[in-house]
Symmetry: C4
Subunit: 212 residues, 4 copies
Amino acid sequence: MNESGRVEAFSDGVFAIAITLLVLEIKVPEGAGDRLWSDLGAMWPSYAAYAVTFLIIGVMWVNHHTVFQCIARVDRTLLFINLILLMGVAALPWPAAVVARYLREGNAAHVALAVYGLFMVFHALAFQAMWWHLTRTGHLFDERVDVVAARATRARFALGSVAYPAAVGLAFVSAPLTLAVHGLLAVYYAFNQVPVPIKAEGVVTEPSGGGK
Amino acid sequence: MNESGRVEAFSDGVFAIAITLLVLEIKVPEGAGDRLWSDLGAMWPSYAAYAVTFLIIGVMWVNHHTVFQCIARVDRTLLFINLILLMGVAALPWPAAVVARYLREGNAAHVALAVYGLFMVFHALAFQAMWWHLTRTGHLFDERVDVVAARATRARFALGSVAYPAAVGLAFVSAPLTLAVHGLLAVYYAFNQVPVPIKAEGVVTEPSGGGK
Amino acid sequence: MNESGRVEAFSDGVFAIAITLLVLEIKVPEGAGDRLWSDLGAMWPSYAAYAVTFLIIGVMWVNHHTVFQCIARVDRTLLFINLILLMGVAALPWPAAVVARYLREGNAAHVALAVYGLFMVFHALAFQAMWWHLTRTGHLFDERVDVVAARATRARFALGSVAYPAAVGLAFVSAPLTLAVHGLLAVYYAFNQVPVPIKAEGVVTEPSGGGK
Amino acid sequence: MNESGRVEAFSDGVFAIAITLLVLEIKVPEGAGDRLWSDLGAMWPSYAAYAVTFLIIGVMWVNHHTVFQCIARVDRTLLFINLILLMGVAALPWPAAVVARYLREGNAAHVALAVYGLFMVFHALAFQAMWWHLTRTGHLFDERVDVVAARATRARFALGSVAYPAAVGLAFVSAPLTLAVHGLLAVYYAFNQVPVPIKAEGVVTEPSGGGK
């Protein structure tokens, strides 16, 4: 396995564990007795937080993989930025649990969703830092990547990250709506992605487009 | 590693973590003192829920693997269906914990097993959605797969998924019996599986039948 | 990756997760204030249960790997036996937590260690079932393996598994001593292992002896 | 996969799981109501313990990988030392949780950070034991490694491990300062590492320097 493959395998492990730990946030209701159906129904914020955060981590995994598909070498800075990004990903079970706990509680719900949104801002910044580092010289890229075109995508990457600060603001308008928006953004990104430009032969838009 | 191999590795990680997190549902009895044997014995619903759910995830892993063995390419839709399927698998420690907590409590036991059964219905639907998507055009399959014959297996796949809604109904008759049925279905599927048809040379029924 | 490689990778994942989940058994003392040193010291059963169980899972991983190194094909029965074995391995954080909780509590300590020992008996039986299945016809083995000689090691495998029932009995004499014996058995097995006989060239005793 | 590759994959799994389990230490505040912002702010020791320990495990993973990159064979002793090292790594969520719980509590904070520092001393000793074993004869190294030069780095390895006992002492001066020092040491080691000497062609300082 080459070096970037090992960093990717470690990152994949963190993504897979974080996504699976999300379930620990969904509690078993205590002393429900004959009211178990209604007690389970009242826990809908837990299910919503689980589903939305699961999609987000899943889509981030795909994006992370698409970027690493184009990397042939790693340096210390890339390792460090990747570690900072994973620090945010691995922490996601916590804001998900905060949202699940406070989604139905007035002001606290606004705060919970704002914190949730700040994590997404953090991820967007970390992804951008990684992309800027990669496109600055391009020496870590696989030779198939068109570095000049890749550098030109920086603005679109940055544009995309405007949505998350807006979602932090939206948290103070409606917490459930904000959670739904995060879910829709994840579905949107699942089917639309900034492609990594490839020399001559075209553009890799589908993860299936480039074997390794 | 090719692209479907990476999706499979990520999925395997989620299966392995979900199956291992099941143990967190088995609690340590508090303040048992001299009654530890009987306190441990009274926890049999936890052991039953653990064993049955462990078998189910294990067999689902084998089935998932058998399907992916025949896939050479992934597209966005397959990635998305797979993510939805994994969302159900990774959640299984929760219905298992609900069953363990309420299996001996009258009406709540019926509800717990109905919820448990609904998760199995969800998995069956997600597996079917994946199989329909794969067999619709067949362009994601390895060239060894006989697409026409594979499409013809759709009905048998659908047939298999009748058992799970029935188990949801059975939950309201007897909760322990329903849990036992889920365990027996898992053992049955461990040794009987809808094969993926292979051109000419025959049929892959054993996971060992096709190297990658 | 060949088929046995994938089963092994899944098994390795379960071993790695179970061994890492052990730490959840070690609790943070509450309200310790100025007595934190002594409160931490009083938790020695947690540390002992962690260390011993960590060694046991680590050594079982090595043994599992040594067996799978010699396997070229898997069938349904092997998959099923392996799943049953993993069901015991993945459950180990629970008996470890029971031991940590009750090691200092009179009669309950004896029960806790007896339960712990029963898990080891379970593992020994599952390993033996796997070895009997493998050596019965030998058709799953790599062609390097000497099947007749391998079958002759069955008795030594069985002999080894006498120690664990004895440890169940010892639990009723002294719980801390029994835990120490389990630790010593793990260290012993770390350096001594029933070798898998190889044709002609000799015997694989060191995991490093046979590449794959 | 060769033998050292499998040990490394297992170790990577343990590193990835331990680093992701850290998040379980960050609790969801109960009954916060309108004070959620301030309640979340008061939890800063949890965030600090998470971030510092995440960096430490991440950097240890890189170091572990750098060492294993140079290993072509494993023996029983190396397996055992590696298992002891992993026993410390996998336990790290616990001292992190102790620090998070007691960082603001007078004397208990000193004890918590001393315990935290002792784990780092343990890791330094385990890494040194591994390095001494590897450089004693050098027969486990890849043939590219310059064994004589590698043996000469022992002193520098030992020198580096003076910092951690000092941090144990510092814990009794200021607990928050000690935690910050641990974080800074991790960042320092992220960018500076004792290189493994390579024959002729020079020295592997960057993980990207040697493919496997």
